[in-house]
């Protein structure tokens, strides 16, 4: 082990201890707060979501290059720095989720120095290429095994006080990144059989990956599905491809093995939740910005989400759009958090924050976000 690796190990231990001490000194630990939200009980204050993996990596001087991308201890280090620096109530080692899996199945990935990796060449170009595809082994192959190790280590270090969000690339997004997003979306119309055949293979791979996470004690696992959204697909395509793949995983692994995300408008999410889509499992119900992706949620949308969440009996997980947080002032962020909490709460369990903090977001903006949630989200809430 190099001296640098030893320092990272020491740093991980130090940060974990610091996080534990703080968690234990508060009225509730982040895990207890999160559990309150899931079970519909009143926490001491609203739980804070602040997923800052890449941002934190930059903050401590890691370049997001190939070296970082293949070193799970650096992921753990960055994830812990995020929790420690901002005091969020969950730890989400979400880093380049969408290329993990496609890379192991043959996509060529580039690793820029200061941005998240990208697909340079798809791993599947023709239906004939499907014959050559091999389902990767999540315990051994590439960054899938590294992500397993990262989640495991985080769980060992802080898992009893902070919820660890183990995340896996959902089958549709995985297939899209393996094939190339533009071409995969075109295939849905141009050659649906090819699209479906690829999805079947990838769903088998994702099932194995979720199962490995389950075997490590993560129940449920979060499926990230940025491409299977109502921005891009018709409701029928969402159902025939996205929801189809969720059901296949549930058939293989049983209920409670995962929870999923469809990053689209609330109307579609509510529809799927009502259908009993296993992806929601009663704990996730993401709010996002409006269809343009640039404006804050409209008041009527927040109220409608709350109405439907109550009807369905699920909590709300509300995220401001990361890019919005990046370009607004601390005062504007404070006001927006106050507005969202006033509208969405306090009579219904919800979590608020930002699920992706873009590189370049001023530190004072993230501080303002966290500070505002602590200020306005303390129970009993009177706004």
């Amino acid at each position: 082990m190099s001296w640098r690796d030893k320092i990272i190990d020491k740093e991980i231990d130090f940060l974990a201890e610091k996080i534990r001490l703080r968690a234990e000194s508060e009225e509730m630990t982040p895990l207890q707060r999160f559990a309150c939200m899931v079970t519909g009980q009143e926490p001491d204050r609203l739980p804070i979501a602040a997923a800052s993996m890449e941002w934190s990596a930059h903050y401590i001087g890691y370049q997001l290059n190939r070296d970082f991308a293949h070193d799970y201890k650096k992921w753990v280090h960055a994830a812990l720095v995020g929790v420690d620096r901002f005091g969020g109530d969950m730890c989400a080692p979400i880093y380049d989720i969408y290329n993990i899996g496609p890379e192991e199945m043959g996509a060529e990935i580039i690793f820029p120095e200061d941005a998240i990796p990208e697909v340079r060449k798809p791993g599947v170009n023709t239906p004939e290429d499907l014959k050559k595809l091999k389902v990767p082994d999540p315990y051994k192959d590439g960054r899938m095994s590294l992500m397993l190790e990262a989640c495991k280590l985080l769980r060992e270090k802080i898992g009893d006080v902070v919820p660890i969000l183990a995340t896996v690339n959902a089958p549709f997004s995985w297939a899209a990144n393996l094939r190339g997003i533009y071409d995969y979306l075109a295939d849905l119309k141009r050659n649906p059989k090819f699209a479906r055949d690829l999805l079947e293979i990838v769903t088998e791979a994702a099932t194995g990956y979720v199962k490995a996470m389950n075997d490590h004690g993560f129940m449920p696992v979060l499926l990230a599905d940025a491409t299977a959204t109502s921005y891009l697909l018709s409701p029928k395509q969402l159902e025939d491809y996205g929801v189809w793949s969720y059901r296949k995983i549930e058939e293989a692994l049983g209920p409670g093995s995962f929870t999923g995300t469809i990053w689209g408008d609330f109307e579609t999410q509510a529809k799927f939740t009502k259908m009993g889509v296993p992806s929601f499992m009663g704990i996730t119900n993401y709010t996002y910005c409006d269809r343009t992706g640039t404006d804050p949620l409209k008041e009527e949308d927040i109220l409608e989400q709350k109405r439907v969440a109550k009807e369905l009996g699920v909590p709300i997980m509300t995220s401001l759009w990361g890019q919005w947080v990046m370009v607004h002032t601390p005062r504007e962020i404070d006001e927006e958090i106050k507005r969202v909490i006033k509208l969405a709460g306090p009579d219904w369990p919800f979590m608020v924050g930002v699920f992706y903090i873009p590189l370049g977001t001023p530190v004072e903006n993230i501080d303002a976000l966290v500070h505002a949630i602590k200020k306005y989200g303390k129970f009993p809430i009177h706004l």
Binding site: I110, P112, D114, A115, I116, E118, V119, R120, I181, Y182, L185, A186, L188, K189, R190, Y231, L232, L233, S234, Q237, T292, G293, T294, G322, Q323, W324, M326, V327, P358, L359, G360, T361
Partner: protein, 216 residues
């Protein structure tokens, strides 16, 4: 005969069938229909596609395949257009900025611009500011359009504008930007002439910019 074929072409574009579109274009050319009339028909068809997209009848896969049908048709027609000296509504140099390889949004904008009657010069992905300027000097477009998907590549949208100004090209073109991390406020703050949140809006903004520039 040509009326049926023209309907067949429109249907091929609306239904997103590139091969059928190409075959029909050949048949139309053989019957003597001019390339500019064929393009007008395809633009009308793409306008229908745009409306269906706005009404949530169509989604991105539909838009992509209709765009592919249009693109395939343009490959046949564009050389003939030059010979015919037919005119486009305007011309656009479009590309993704340096350090960014996300081209879905840019491709969709290119589709809708073609559908609105623009001649599109597509630079593809990962273009330096100098590349935009170089291409603009060469083809003298009405609009330079640039997109960025990531927050790290977003500052390059400003770099493109700086280079356009430095080279004097900005006096001759409008600058249109877009992409996930951008907002209209930010676009205006850096001095862009236009911003769009999606492909359909981009084509509308581009048409407005050209009309404004020409004083109509």
């Amino acid at each position: 005969m040509s009326k049926d074929l023209r309907k067949k072409l429109k249907d091929a574009v609306i239904d997103g069938e590139p091969d059928a579109a190409k075959d029909t274009i050949q048949e139309l050319l053989n019957t003597g229909v001019s390339p500019s009339d064929i393009i007008k028909d395809m633009c009308k068809a793409l306008d229908v596609v745009g409306k269906k997209f706005e009404n949530k009848e169509y989604y991105i896969p539909d838009l992509i395949m209709s765009g592919e049908a249009m693109k395939g048709g343009m490959e046949i027609l564009q050389p003939l257009m030059k010979a015919e000296k037919a005119e486009f509504v305007g011309s656009v140099v479009i590309g993704v900025v340096e350090g960014d390889v996300h081209d879905i949004g840019k491709n969709l904008v290119a589709i809708m611009l073609r559908g609105a009657g623009f001649e599109v010069h597509d630079l593809g992905i990962d273009n330096t500011a100098e590349k935009f300027v170089e291409q603009a000097k060469e083809v003298k477009p009405d609009i330079v359009a640039a997109s960025a998907y990531t927050s790290t590549s977003m500052p390059h949208l400003r770099d493109v504008l700086t280079e356009l100004r430095k080279s004097g090209v900005k006096d001759e073109v409008c600058y249109l930007i877009g992409g996930a991390p951008t907002t209209e406020d930010w676009a205006m703050s850096i001095g862009a002439d236009g911003w769009a949140g999606d492909a359909v809006e981009a084509a509308k903004v581009a048409s407005k910019l050209v009309n404004k520039r020409r004083g109509s």
